[in-house]
């Protein structure tokens, strides 16, 4: 007699049930209204203003970086506008002792963690002095290989656990990066070791031109956490309060010894993939752009702060002016850095130069002194 269907494990139904559970988490809606009061992180007025200040500053930094790139005064640059809530609000939940392993679009988090602006500009120009992190700054420079930072973050987190530090490793990639083997190895290893790591996927809808639907059949990237046996959360990546709250919670769990969390921030990049010739009009319509602009993190947060009398046009202008001044000064400093030489590179290949490097050092010293 055939078993009754109702008693059998139904994989299709189970999948549908799991996917349904990964609803988008939101606290602040597009109108700047709190829609989820019990989840409100209740940041102090000063913190709310500081978070806004950082997002406005970062938006200006993005605009200036794009124009500096167009003038030939910056090199590699991946635009960030639209992703401020995902980047800045998640970073806002961190402490100085936390270690950031960024992707190449994650320059803002490094800057707010303490990477001097002029060094970020030198990095953009491919100058090795940009990557010489100041003592005590817990970051790696932006990773170029998509997803490689994920598994390294697990290593840093495991090291923190062994050192009994009250700190976490946090890493960022995009939804394209979530297709990489290192993404799975990273979250799986971290789950297995209960390592204090936070994995953020900024799902900005396109990996260069490839749309989100092509990356995976999964309804969300966040649900991939289930397979690794770790908590995952699908969050409105244009909502600074929601991103802040889930990152803060993930950090608390990690510090308590409850292991890693995967966070998918659902967001959008307004600009091109990088400034190296990507043309978004080949894969997106202006209708899609304007749909997302309505969700803008700065717009909704400004509305929210204004409703609490915590923000004004005057304040915003002040921040914008400050950003422009500081960027100008940083570019000047970057311009003053000595030109990078081949001998600089030869000198940092090994702790002690092997014979071949030594010989080449002499050859290039002679070339460079001409």
């Amino acid at each position: 007699m055939a078993a009754k269907k109702s008693q059998q494990f139904d994989p299709v139904k189970t999948l549908a049930e799991i996917e349904e559970k990964f609803e988008m988490f939101q606290i602040l809606n597009e109108e700047g209204e709190i829609v989820n009061e019990e989840a409100n992180p209740n940041l102090s007025d000063e913190d709310l203003q500081e978070l806004m200040r950082r997002m406005v500053y970062t938006r200006i930094l993005d605009q200036r970086s794009i124009s500096l790139n167009r003038q030939g005064r910056l090199g590699f640059y991946a635009p960030t506008a639209g992703q401020e809530a995902s980047q800045i609000a998640s970073h806002f939940a961190l402490k100085k002792e936390d270690f950031i392993l960024p992707g190449y679009r994650d320059v803002p988090q490094l800057i707010w963690h303490g990477w001097p602006l002029e060094q970020a500009f030198l990095f953009s120009r491919g100058h090795f002095m940009g990557n010489q992190m100041p003592e005590g700054l817990n970051v790696l420079p932006p990773q170029i290989i998509i997803g490689a930072q994920y598994i390294q973050a697990t290593g840093v987190a495991l090291g923190m656990q062994k050192r009994k530090k009250d700190a976490v490793a946090i890493t960022y990639t995009g939804e394209g990066g979530s297709s990489q083997g290192d993404f799975y190895e990273g979250i799986n290893f971290a789950g297995s070791f209960r390592a204090p790591a936070i994995f953020i996927v900024q799902n900005n809808q396109y990996a260069i031109s490839t749309p989100r639907e092509v990356q995976t059949a999964a309804k969300t990237v966040a649900q991939k956490a289930v397979a690794a046996g770790i908590p995952g959360i699908f969050v409105d990546g244009m909502d600074p309060l929601a991103v802040y709250a889930v990152t803060r919670d993930a950090r608390e769990r990690a510090i308590k010894g409850d292991g890693p969390t995967l966070i998918e921030t659902f967001c959008y990049r307004y600009g091109p993939h990088t400034m190296a010739g990507d043309d978004p009009t080949r894969y997106r319509t202006s209708d899609i752009d304007s749909e997302w602009e309505k969700k803008d993190p700065l717009v909704r947060f400004r509305k929210y702060l204004e409703s609490k009398n915590l923000w004004s046009e005057e304040k915003e202008n002040e921040v914008m002016e400050q950003a422009k001044e500081e960027i100008k000064a940083a570019i000047k400093k970057a311009d003053a850095a000595p030109k990078q030489k081949v001998t600089d590179l030869l000198g940092i290949m090994y702790e002690e130069m092997p014979f071949n490097v030594k010989e080449q050092m002499d050859i290039y010293k002679a070339k460079e002194s001409k």
Binding site: G130, I145, Y150, I151, A157, L345
Partner: protein
């Protein structure tokens, strides 16, 4: 002094450094309770605890990336890649990441990682277990590549590798693991990286080699001695960077040289050694520098293994061409 196999000497080195330096961590697939598939880590987890010697999930790229992250927290990771044929899975972590740590940090960070891994033919392993892939590693600036040929060297070289502040790929030939024993001192000693060893002095021909081919080359040299040829055999021990001084001094003395490697011929270590010799000592040469290598195929596992692998007979044959040129 104890008579040890190479695998025992490796275990001793790991034990020594786990004892010496609390930052040394040993990890990989099956290295914990099981002591590794070849027992290189036998008893280490029991002695040093699961915090220092531990199993990882089965993913080579993960193991490489984990080592990088741990190094960033001040550890001195000694991961094992279970068989070096699996290195393709972890190429980015090795060549793309840890080899570039100094470059990527403008010289402010380093990755003192020692990756141990078995390789080499003659023990009838399945596909992707035995290939000689050291050339891939030697082509990555920022790495050092070490291949011991005997138990004594294995211990001294592994201690140097672990203490080195640059990433070291430490390749262990499976055929040498248990094929012979040697006196290995219990106390610690190091053999510097980048220093070759003249295994046998001679005046007519220099054979430059490494790994399992050292034994074959010595056999060939003994064979040639019966015909009154005096053959020098140099064990490179470190193939990146090369000990150029020892190589050139030998070639200048003998005027004739050949290079023996187990790897296939194309673009390998032997080609590199030949190029260095012709760059630096061409006027000392009385004959072309020839190579004995495997053919340019993937490793011929099981069936054609014995013919595929270079041996003493092949070396004698080529040596005679060089000697009588």
């Amino acid at each position: 002094m104890a008579q040890l196999t190479m695998i025992q000497a490796i275990t001793e080195a790991l034990k020594t450094e786990l004892k010496n330096d609390e930052n040394v961590l040993v990890f990989g697939e099956d290295v914990g309770n099981n002591g590794g598939v070849f027992r290189a880590t036998e008893g280490l987890q029991k002695e040093f605890g699961e915090d220092r010697v531990f199993d990882t999930p089965l993913a080579e790229s993960g193991i490489g990336g984990l080592a990088i992250g741990l190094a960033l927290q001040g550890y001195r990771p000694v991961p094992e890649i279970q068989f070096f044929g699996f290195v393709f899975e972890v190429m980015d972590s090795i060549s793309g990441q840890m080899a570039r740590m100094r470059y990527r940090s403008g010289g402010s960070q380093h990755a003192p990682v020692t990756i141990r891994s078995p390789f080499g033919g003659g023990v009838h392993t399945p596909e992707m277990h035995a290939d000689s892939l050291e050339g891939l590693m030697a082509a990555s600036p920022g790495l050092k590549v070490v291949i011991p040929s005997n138990p004594y060297d294995a211990k001294g070289l592994l201690l140097s590798a672990i203490r080195d502040n640059d990433p070291v790929i430490f390749l262990e030939h499976m055929k040498l693991y248990r094929s012979f024993r040697q006196e290995v001192p219990e106390e610690e000693y190091t053999i510097p990286l980048g220093k070759a060893d003249v295994k046998r002095e001679g005046t007519d021909l220099s054979i430059i080699t490494y790994g399992a081919m050292v034994q074959e080359s010595i056999k060939a040299a003994e064979e040639l001695e019966k015909e009154n040829y005096s053959v020098e055999v140099i064990d490179l021990r470190t193939i990146q960077p090369l000990d150029i001084e020892t190589i050139i001094a030998s070639v200048e003395k003998t005027g004739r040289a050949m290079v023996v490697q187990e790897a296939q011929k194309q673009a390998g270590i032997a080609a590199n050694v030949v190029a260095e010799i012709t760059d630096r000592a061409i006027l000392s040469l009385d004959a072309p520098v020839l190579r004995v290598t495997a053919p340019d195929t993937v490793f011929a596992f099981s069936q054609a293994e014995e013919v595929w692998l270079p041996n003493a007979k092949d070396i004698v044959e080529t040596a005679k061409k060089v000697l009588t040129f």
